[in-house]
Symmetry: none
């Protein structure tokens, strides 16, 4: 995250090459998983030699961890924007929409994350605890307050968040399956509409 003390500001070449490597690694890790990915693939995809990759990163794991850290930051942005003072239903529907947009804009990031969690989060567990959990707890409590006040239907905030994550990321993570079932280039716009309808009805406050 923060630059080590001694290192001088990275040169333009350094920034460009680090970016290239991370871009290539994202591709490879997202497709093959951590163990399935090889430095050879990353090097070839980045257009650099393998030892040169290791000139920029200490090893395979450091590349992976760097990606996960970067990802986590972006990943949490929509959650941070939940506004306690906004209209509850609108806020949540906006959250669903943003999350879906992110999954569609960054499917590789989503799959990278899914891969890591599937394997027990061996390299990202501390980050989950330190960064994700506080945000999650806050958001769940906010939703619970909204539900308690009758502004939305009676739902458990934590499970609601899980369901939003699941339904939106599904379009990135299970893309291979969806392509087989809906045709490879079927526009996935139906997803936004569907999820909007689903949560609109599911969250509408009780009519009593």
């Amino acid at each position: 995250m923060t630059e080590p003390l001694k290192s001088p500001a990275p040169s333009r070449i350094q920034r460009r090459n680090r970016a290239r490597i991370l871009e290539a690694a994202l591709d490879v890790f997202a497709q093959h998983g951590y163990r399935g990915a090889t430095l050879d693939q990353i090097a070839e995809s980045a257009g650099l030699s393998k030892p040169n990759i290791l000139y920029y990163f200490a090893g395979k794991e450091e590349i992976h961890v760097t990606l996960l850290h970067q990802l986590m930051d972006n990943w949490l942005e929509p959650l941070r924007q939940l506004d306690p003072d906004g209209s509850p239903l609108e806020e949540l529907l906006t959250y669903v929409r943003r999350k879906l947009e992110m999954s569609q804009a960054f499917p590789r990031e989503s799959r990278l994350f899914a891969n890591e969690i599937l394997q027990g989060a061996p390299r990202i567990a501390p980050l989950l605890e330190a960064e994700l959990k506080p945000l999650f707890d806050g958001a769940a409590a906010l939703i619970d307050r909204w539900a308690g006040a009758g502004a939305i239907a009676q739902v458990d905030g934590r499970h609601l968040i899980f369901s939003i994550w699941a339904t939106t990321q599904h379009y990135a993570d299970f893309e291979a399956q969806i392509a087989k079932l809906m045709g490879p280039d079927a526009p996935r716009e139906g997803a936004a509409e569907f999820l909007n309808g689903l949560y609109t009805r599911a969250l509408a406050p009780d009519q009593s």
Copy 2:
């Protein structure tokens, strides 16, 4: 020399050992992914020697494919039981419940499947086409008919199925994350209640 043409009926030992291997492999593949799993791990977990594993299966890939085939069969069972003549809302809520139960009863199978799809379904694509797609198309069409008839809310059947898969399997596939956020042994019963409520409201036919 005078071997029977196809394959002799497997002995009891053979059946037991094949079962042991598959059981062990499920463990290992689900935890480490296909590439991350090693025959050594599988052999140790199965209590057999590595060459003996290869006596029963031609190679690592065959074990994996065998697992995927077995899995697919069970996996589709709930979908097959959707009854066109049943009460639409009840049928769908039952499907959600069964799917969630399966995820909780067979989390390793769910993760094995997720792993495979995440990596582009390289080994399971034909099965998806041959077995899953017909069922999926049928179920989606059924739901669309129900929606068209006003028996449930206006939803796109295909996306509804996706959302059910996503929300139920999430509890198995993202277990590591959920454990971090909810505590390691938090009972996940809230899930069934939440999903039941969610889909009950979301699928209720319009009140017009």
Copy 3:
């Protein structure tokens, strides 16, 4: 040293191959040092494939440590045979002779040991403490008693032992230099005679 509990008695092939590997490794380590030696060299010299080497030993370091352990045992034998009840002068001269014979019979072992000590004994330090030190302390005390009783000249036992080690092992460890200075195949018998004379005079009790 002692067999791990589970391992079955090693087969004849296993014993033969382990012996081959250790023999080859002794050659290579003694000549090039730990870091300078490569598994390739050891494998070629042993007539086995590189992975097969690693089938018998967990890694390069384990081979090295195994050699050091074996060596230490033989190395200490002459010291153990110092007889407190023997004639002091004869005992010490016999020790010198035996030590020299060992250096001439096992020059590779001597060089392997010297290499390890030169580099700070990183892998053998515990053994020095546990096995060598008690023997050393005992022998030094014995010599000090002999000197105190006037049976030999007034010498510090510890330094006497060091000098014996140094002078005898020198013929193995600095063989390359000696060959250059004395001719490659000069019989080194002069050494035994010289050292016998040296210590005979140096240790003769004072004539007072």
Copy 4:
């Protein structure tokens, strides 16, 4: 372009940097051996960049050879000072004392040399032949003459020199072992006294 023919007089910076590099390399080579040492370690220890190291020396080997040449010069100094016209016994005891002082003052040099010889003197053999051998032959002949004349005990000059080298350098080369056996900071002064006594008695002319 218009470079002077041979080499311009080295600037002050050049001399300082060459010295720094050699000082750092001595440290690293003495501790890890030739193969175990890396340019990175030397560069870091010298406070220079790796390419800069190679600006001053053509490669790793040249640094090593330069060190060996420097060392050899100092190393032989005590031998050169053996005075044929001095008192034989005193001359030899003085040689022992000087050699021991050098070992204690320059233990890294001693270990560097030992390392090189242990590995068969691949890089220093010509030097041994050209510089060491004549001196050695001369000194051995001198000692033999002294012995023949009855001025000292009957010893073989060549083996006597070996024994002096061995016993004095031992305190530098086997320091790790000695530290384990005598305690890490035990003053090693006993060594001088011991060796003086040893050679005094061993070299005293026969009383006949």
